[in-house]
């Protein structure tokens, strides 16, 4: 056996397998790799032997190259039990299927796989997602390359290392999924959302279920509305509720409004009281009103509190970066009185009470105003966020410029 031989899967699948004395014993149908080893090592092959399909141990099999063809030899046929193992069938699960290219952060289709024979076993090293692989499968790669040589045209080939891809078409339910998608969970939520949108419903769900609540919530926020609905309709009510608790109330309200009323209600009941109450309130606002866009995650203080107390409080609650553009000052009935920017706090003396440094001339909008009102004021006064009050002047939320921007982009896309 010559070590270091590399070969393409498509060149060996369908080949005849021979015994030591060169008697044919069957055809190679598929190769099975073990995903638990550090590298995906071939541990078994699926063969057709006298009309029956068998999975046999790979340790008695060798693959060698003889005059441009691959010769497969098998010294003993030992059946192998796979049910306990974390395996992948290369033809059934990977070849011609979609996988995620971690490096390009997109979904690609596998045209072929490249394997290597080393002294301690045979491993999958790369997947071929290029046009050359496609032509090789059609059986015209070599002649076509010869034909194009005089014209200096090369056929683009594109090999991705196994470490840089994540297979997704698992029909193997017996394994813990989080393990299967370990690579995917390292991606940025926006990239992962883009990838999910390119996949079919069952793959979307499989990947989604494997993420932890925090990550899942981040990804859910980035998804297109249809995919959000699909995910929430298919996940268990408990999982959906856990995930939505990790999201800003206004986002949750937007998503739940797209769901069937009954399903949305079930999820709301499952959520923590405090979170669901906020969401329900926001869901009451008509579309196109300020209330439907606002977030209820704002920070407010009374005017008697000192600057250092404010800082202590901020350290305690560790707010999201976009909820601290401005801090609001309210009276004892929660009515909006003024605002304070972080900059004002930073330059102020620690002992000063807020009413000394606050800005009483605060620009706000009513929760039942039209959305266009916000765009106008935010751009007129160069604001990063704008407080929302109800008709009794009580501060009920804020609208952040980001949300206005996204809403604008969304409505442009719909036109």
């Amino acid at each position: 056996m010559k070590f270091g031989t590399t070969f393409y899967l498509s060149r060996v699948v369908g080949n005849t397998i021979y015994t030591n004395d060169q008697k044919p014993i069957g055809k190679l149908l598929d190769m099975i790799v073990d995903l638990d080893s550090r590298r995906p090592k071939v541990i078994a092959i699926k063969i057709k032997n006298n009309g029956s399909i068998r999975i046999i141990d790979f340790s008695n099999v060798s693959i060698t190259k003889k005059n441009q063809q691959y010769h497969i030899q098998c010294t003993a046929l030992h059946d192998m039990e796979l049910s306990k193992l974390h395996t992948l069938f290369l033809v059934k699960h990977v070849l011609d299927k979609q996988i995620v290219d971690m490096y390009g952060r997109k979904v690609v289709r596998v045209n072929d796989l490249r394997l290597v024979v080393l002294s301690n076993g045979t491993y999958t090293v790369a997947v071929d997602v290029g046009f050359e692989g496609f032509l090789r499968r059609l059986g015209v790669a070599k002649p076509l390359k010869e034909l194009l040589k005089p014209f200096r045209i090369t056929v683009p080939s594109n090999l991705l290392l196994w470490d840089e891809v994540e297979a997704i078409d698992f029909t193997n339910r017996g394994i813990k999924l989080s393990k299967s998608y370990a690579k995917l969970s390292t991606l940025h939520p926006s990239d992962l959302a883009d990838i999910l949108e390119d996949l079919d419903r069952s793959s979307q769900l499989a990947i989604f279920s494997s993420l932890d609540d925090e990550k899942a919530a981040d990804v859910l926020e980035e998804l297109e509305t249809e995919v959000q609905v699909n995910v929430l309709e298919s996940l268990s009510v408990e999982k959906a509720a856990d995930m939505l608790e990790k999201m800003p109330a206004d986002e949750v309200a937007d998503i739940l409004e797209e769901l069937e009323a009954e399903r949305a209600n079930k999820i709301l009941i499952e959520m923590e009281k405090e979170a669901s109450a906020e969401v329900r309130e926001l869901m009451g606002y008509p579309e196109k009103s300020v209330g439907s866009l606002m977030t209820t995650d704002f920070i407010s203080f009374h005017e008697t509190i000192t600057v250092q107390e404010v800082f202590a409080e901020l350290r305690r609650i560790k707010p999201e970066p976009d909820s601290v553009y401005y801090l609001y000052v309210v009276d004892h009935d929660g009515r909006l009185a003024a605002n304070v920017s972080l900059r004002d706090l930073v330059v102020a003396e620690p002992e000063q009470p807020l009413h000394r440094i606050m800005n009483r001339d605060v620009i706000s909008v009513y929760d039942d105003d039209d959305m266009d009102e916000i765009v106008e004021r935010i751009s007129k006064y160069n604001l990063l966020a704008i407080p929302v009050i109800d008709r009794t002047k009580v501060l009920v939320g804020t609208v952040i410029i980001n949300d206005v921007f996204y809403d604008f982009i969304k409505s442009k896309r719909r036109k």
Binding site: K97, R109, N111, L138, D200, S202, E226, R413, K415
Partner: protein, 413 residues
Amino acid sequence: MRKNHSMWSKILTFMALLGPGIITGSVDNDAGGITTYSAAGAMYGYNMIWTLIPAFIVLLIVQEMNARMGIVTGKGLADLIRENAGVKVTFFIFIGLLFADISNTMTEFAGVAGSMEVFGVSKYIAIPLTAIGVWLLVVKGNYQFAEKIFLIFSVALLSYIFSALMGKPHWSEIGSAVIHPHVPVNFDSISMVIGLVGTTIAPWMQFYMQSAVIEKGLTPEDYKYTIWDIVVGCIATVVVAFFIMVACGSTLFVNGHGTQINDAKDAAVALKPFAGAMASQVFAFGLFIASIFSATILPVATAFYVCEAFGFEAGIEKKWKEAPQFYILYTIILILSASIILIPNAPLIAITLWSQRINGILLPIVLICMMLLVNNKEIMGKFTNKKWNNIIGWFTIFILVVLSLVLVVLSIF
């Protein structure tokens, strides 16, 4: 779904899920279809109307399977074929589809050219304008917007009802012709029957229907509404076809003498002395809408499936940079189809016939792939075909294969 749903909320749910079936059904009545229906009405009067009954059943069976596959797997037909039939089969199906659809798109542009001539607009103005408009709608528009436009188009196809009524049809004769058709059995009439059934169901439609279902994000819970969407779509297809046949049958087929019609424009022009200029223009308007409609969907759908199957990025929501192969292929299909029609004295009739022939060869192959996929437990789980589905499905395929073979053989001799 709650048990105590009011009728009203049921209707609302249905309206929200409406679309795939009805649009597919309307796209189906494209320039090629209208030509075939007109020719059948002009040549045989009301005696070919009965063919709409088997056409309706075939359409229903096939589209239901597509919708079910789309709903259950969430994958397009192109994806499924590639993942389960291997590269070689995929390659031949999609090269075939590409050729068929380029010639189909040419037929649509021929329809645009013909219908605009009735209004006195030269094809050298109409076709470039249409092609640019279509290109912009696809490259700059999005699916929701396009779907709305398409639904409006679908309604515009009802204009054929008016041209039919202007021709003062004889309802009692229509009734008796459906029950007792008088058709001479010869090569011409047989190929007409084949053409009528064949034009109702084109290969690319199966791909389109399945994608539309996925695009809508329908789930197994939506299935019962989708069925109604398909039924309504199939009825719409057949109703439009019926009225086209009636319009031509009650005017161009007089005193038992047929009129030979080569393309749909001929029908519009021929209507004038019988039913007046108004009827002729309404007919031409319907043809124009139908042609634009299909000329919009066909090229983009084809580019999408070919890219999907060959593993290139595709989709109108992607930017040109992200999916260059898709956009280039789409643009080539559009430019090629439009410019061939612009060649002076282009053999429009031959092009129409050829596109139907390629469709005829491709259709059984696609349908066989579909039947194998829809019966595969690993793909469909518990949603595989029921016994009767399979009996009707395979019987349909058998008939279509025989018909298509006959049609191909006939067109060679």
